[in-house]
Symmetry: C2
Subunit: 112 residues, 2 copies
Amino acid sequence: MATTKQSLFPEGQVALAAFAGALAHPARIAIIGLLQAREEACCGEIVKALPLAQATVSQHLQVLNRVGLLHHRQCGPKICYSINCEALRSFCHSFQCTLGTAEEVAAPAPHL
Amino acid sequence: MATTKQSLFPEGQVALAAFAGALAHPARIAIIGLLQAREEACCGEIVKALPLAQATVSQHLQVLNRVGLLHHRQCGPKICYSINCEALRSFCHSFQCTLGTAEEVAAPAPHL
DNA sequence: ATCGCATATCGCAGATATACGATAAATAAT
DNA sequence: ATTATTTATCGTATATCTGCGATATGCGAT
């Protein structure tokens, strides 16, 4: 009887956990690193770079996509993925705040 | 046949994924937040603060402990948990590096 | 429309994670 | 030693994740 009590927690905590969950696999960390290194890559290139089958890589891409961490654009017959830096930064910021590791960035700048 | 291909990835990526995995549940995010807010708390207090049974909370504490995120000390009959700030900071740093969000820490606002 | 390629989705199997009651282990006090 | 209290662990049920082959979908060219 493990009826996933996630809904009993504050929305912010659920969102943060979902973000962490999206990064909770080395393949997905690798994908992020790869996209960071070369700005953009199509699915096939990512498949070639990882020790996983195409179907599996596609699934991992969907996981990252579901939390909004990726951008993608049709590029002929291929689909080019890149990182949604905005989302990544915003998530990291929430992280810092919740985890309390945001000391010297103490200019929260609501005034921009 | 999903024999967990995690070992085929670089150690750093596996470690980072494990850290993310430890934070991939709202209950564990809540525990970190709670410990951040009050410096130290025993298991019973955490149980009271969460909508979960004692056994479940204990399990979540073990998950956080396994990746080195917690300190604990016997305190009479209780066990007081606190955050291992060292480990937390170190993990966050690796995160920043891998996720590429560590550049503008020194560059204050590229005011366009 | 058909072909060839690139990617997503389906369906399945095995592995982990989640949740909890029951119980064990440890401590403090009697 | 017994009791009460606190926490960890065990056993179990359900849910979710991982991984892949097979297949469907989408695109560009023929």
